[in-house]
Subunit: 217 residues, 2 copies
């Protein structure tokens, strides 16, 4: 399924090209670890960037349309979007302010978003989205009815033109700065999952399911 | 300094207007808690969304230009951008899949980005950015020299046209779904700060500073 990954002039990294990752598998690992993306689209020349959830099915991103109403008005044969996923791993405190940085992994996908509007395909897309965010949940919930399916929109964006960028590892200072008398190092950052909180109106005997109790990204 | 916050047709929330926050102070609290934004801009009709760090000074966002080289080529008298900041607080597991949601706080700022290019103003902007991300660090580092200042760009975006969106609190299910026999509740998510990691080439006697040891967002 996967095509070779060749950077285009639009996805070739201009700055810090040493941080570029054009390998599709590496990009998919990042996409599969996250579930929150920022979708960019333009309306009359004004860019909008909206946070929403996403999933991946083979070489397509599926994007929950909850935040996309402004975008959906523009949809006909597909609208150019940029979908960006960023995972933040740490602050990099160098000796010079100039070499301060962040450890992160990000993927930028450029493409045309189209509506998933055939009901069966939409239901399957919603299942994939749900399973991407919290695997195991779909089988436990009240399934969408016809009215709800209609009220939900899902967008599909093919992962054809993309780039990923990764900064990891230790501080890198200029050689002459290593004698500068300050602390330097990494402050790790990660997403912490808290203990699930029962809903106040939970039916008796409903324990926190395994997929919620052991949830992690 | 702060003007009243009136939603424009471009920032008025189309979906879930009950989650809208147009109050400037509330938006600033969100902006001040985060430090990673996603900047959107369009080049020849193609939107780009780039993650980068930011800070706030009064009614302006200051955006680190590290990721903005593609955008900077477009800069003349200012380029329309959208700056979005999203803080994710939890997954909301309802009884129906349709009512699943996320707890989050987000701010969308629409405006024209201009370069901060006067050297003194740029230095002050970099200090603000640094202090926004990790207060206390600036005084401890080797300050930028002329070459580094030139190699760094900072953008300024006035916070005039903006909206914020907040979803918090418990699951909300349709009344008839409360008898559906599944677990429901919240999975809290937060940014966890790990123990700082000393750089391998640290000078002897350099302890982790207080602002790194007690870092939190």
């Amino acid at each position: 399924m996967s095509q070779p990954s060749i950077p285009t002039p639009r996805t070739r990294l201009v700055r810090e090209p040493d941080r570029a990752v054009y390998d599709r598998e590496a990009a998919y690992q990042i996409l599969d670890e996250g579930f929150l993306c920022h979708v960019g689209f333009a309306v009359d020349g004004q860019p909008f960037v909206i946070p929403t959830s996403y999933g991946r099915k083979d070489d397509n991103l599926l994007i929950h349309g909850s935040a996309a109403s402004r975008m959906l008005r523009q949809l006909k044969d597909g609208i150019p979007v940029c979908v960006t996923v960023t995972l933040l791993d740490g602050l990099v405190l160098a000796r010079s302010i100039f070499n301060h940085s962040m450890n992160y992994r990000s993927v930028v996908v450029l493409g045309k978003a189209t509506l998933v509007d055939q009901p069966e395909e939409k239901l399957e897309a919603l299942r994939l989205l749900s399973e991407h965010i919290i695997p195991g949940r779909w089988a436990d919930v009240r399934q969408p009815n016809e009215r709800e399916l209609k009220a939900t929109s899902v967008l599909k964006v093919p992962i054809e033109e993309f780039s990923a960028k990764v900064r990891k590892g230790p501080v890198v200072d200029d050689e002459e700065d290593y004698s500068f008398p300050t602390w330097a190092g990494i402050i790790p950052l990660e997403t912490r999952v808290g203990t699930p909180i029962d809903d106040a109106r939970l039916l008796p005997g409903r324990a926190v399911p395994e997929y919620a109790r052991r949830y992690s990204r």
